[in-house]
């Protein structure tokens, strides 16, 4: 469903990705690990379509209506409507916009795109509260402005809540475990696992192995200096936990 070939990408004139290849099929969970500064976050932003990141070479293909389509020039909102979701490492605060209204606008944007019925606030309210229960989120957050006065952990839960609302085909989780204590991480991981199906795929970007105890990957990649330098099964994450990255880099 996602096929990245020989991708070179830069931000502010700095080359970050240097010939990255990644192929993800429906039903798979991929973990991308790597030391700081290897390009993990850049990869997530490039897939989501951040305007400050440029694709210099290579292609990013995503399956749309059964056909692999190069999305490198596609607006981020259209990518999202086609089923790509990015859970942010640092979720953005949007003062003055209530979370409920934001989530409903987002849901309706996708519904319109796919010719489905939109929801009014009365329909949406029970729908969203049900999803919040899975993530053990306090209902008070629904009335607050998006991510404003949310704790670090609540922001991360809010990302997964958005994922649950949009039900993407491809979810990229960028360091979702950073800043989470173990209990919160279990809840977030449970929220993610509930959404895991044979139809969708996930790319879990993480610096540490611990999240992968709860979200079990099928394939583990190591990203270093802008390229995937090793791909293996889940055992690779455990080896990294034990030995660090040095043995892979040398």
């Amino acid at each position: 469903m996602l096929n990245i070939k020989d991708l070179y990408a830069s931000v502010d004139g700095h080359q970050i990705l240097k010939g990255l290849d990644l192929s993800v099929k429906a039903g798979e969970v991929h973990a991308i690990m790597g030391p700081n500064g290897s390009g993990k976050s850049t990869l997530s932003k490039i897939v989501a379509g951040h305007p400050q990141y440029t694709v210099d070479r290579g292609s990013i293909e995503f399956e749309i209506n059964g056909a692999m389509t190069n999305i490198a020039a596609m607006e981020p909102d259209l990518r999202a409507r086609e089923g790509i979701f990015l859970a942010f490492q640092y979720p953005v605060e949007i003062p003055g916009v209530p979370t409920s209204e934001f989530l409903r606008s987002s849901y309706n944007a996708l519904a319109r795109h796919h010719g489905l019925a939109e929801m009014d606030p009365l329909d949406f309210d029970p729908f969203i509260r049900e999803k919040m229960k899975v993530l053990e989120m306090d209902e008070k957050y629904i009335d607050r402005a998006v991510n404003v006065d949310f704790s670090g952990g609540e922001k991360k839960r809010n990302e997964i809540l958005q994922m649950a609302v949009l039900n993407p085909r491809l979810a990229v989780l960028d360091e979702t475990d950073s800043g989470l204590d173990v209990d919160s991480m279990k809840i977030v991981a449970h929220g993610v696992n509930v959404l895991r199906t044979k139809r969708n795929a996930m790319v879990v970007i993480t610096h540490y192995q611990r999240l992968l105890n709860y979200i079990k990957p099928d394939i583990v990649h190591v990203l270093y200096q802008g390229r995937i330098i090793k791909t293996a099964g889940p055992e690779l994450a455990l080896q990294i936990e034990e030995k660090g990255y040095d043995w892979l880099i040398a």
């Binding site: 379509g49 400050q52 949007i94 003055g96 916009v97 606008s105 987002s106 944007a109």
Partner: protein, 272 residues
């Protein structure tokens, strides 16, 4: 409430005095008559009142006795030929609380001059402002807060949304006198520029003579936030709708600080 001169003369600036009796609570919003030039609001000890007006060029004075509460909403349309100039002065006795929301929209000039003296211990003032400017509008807001007694609070949030070639200037002065220990004073001025030709200036001025105080000020002038836009777009919301959401949010954030639900409703209605 007693209106002293129902047949006031609009041309002479003889003050029209409104008095809110001790410990009374006005159930209705008091309306400042359109065209009023000089108004005095005298809120006696422990009285609570909400005041609204579309007053244009004018002078409004408020006197708050001990424990009095006044919330005042000013809505102005700056569309005339001459700038809309208004002066607002307030004196606050111990434990009293003043909240204000000055709202302007339009394409011509507006100038607000606000002077508040916190005379009694524990008094608090919450000044909020919102200018929605377009065309060649020029807005100047000057606030002058004097902390003259201990444990007083001032909190200001002024926001400006600027289109076309409009311009905003915010002058915010906070004076903390030596006797005003344990003062809390906050000031924030935020300007969102929606065109490349809109401009804004901000001039904070803090004079602090007491040593045990908390004082802070901040200002932002900038275009729409790219990270916020991107975030909304990654949730399927197209760029135009995301931009509208962000400008509405920018405005709503300050409107939210209106405490009286009726006054808040009034502002929200006029924003639609």
């Amino acid at each position: 409430m007693i209106g002293s001169s129902p047949d006031m003369d609009h041309l002479t600036a003889v003050p029209q005095i409104f008095r809110f009796r001790r410990r009374s609570e006005a159930t209705d919003i008091m309306r400042i008559p359109a065209g009023a030039r000089h108004i005095v609001l005298h809120v006696e000890e422990g009285a609570r009142v909400a005041v609204a007006g579309n007053f244009g060029p004018s002078e409004v004075e408020a006197v708050l006795e001990e424990g009095a509460h006044l919330e005042i909403l000013r809505v102005a349309r700056a569309d005339g030929i001459s700038p809309c100039v208004s002066h607002f002065k307030a004196r606050l006795a111990a434990g009293s609380c003043l909240r204000s929301f000055f709202f302007t929209r339009g394409e011509s000039g507006v100038s607000d001059d606000i002077n508040v003296v916190l005379e009694g211990a524990g008094a608090g003032v919450f000044l909020n402002g919102l200018h929605l400017l377009a065309g060649e509008a020029k807005a100047e807001s000057t606030t002058n807060i004097e902390h003259a007694a201990p444990s007083t609070t001032s909190d200001q949030l002024y926001k400006c949304l600027l289109r076309d070639t409009s311009y905003s200037l915010f002058n915010g002065r906070i004076l903390v006198r030596r006797e005003a220990q344990l003062t809390n004073a906050y000031q924030l001025n935020k300007n969102m520029l929606l065109s490349t030709q809109a401009r804004a200036d901000t001039r904070p001025e803090l004079e602090i003579f007491a040593d045990d105080v908390k004082c802070s000020h901040g200002a932002t002038i900038g275009h729409m936030d790219h990270d916020q836009l991107f975030y909304l777009q990654t949730r399927g919301i197209d760029k135009a709708a995301a931009g509208e959401m962000l400008t509405n949010g920018f405005v709503e954030d300050v409107v939210d600080r209106i405490s009286d639900p009726r006054l808040k409703n009034e502002v929200q209605r006029s924003l639609r």
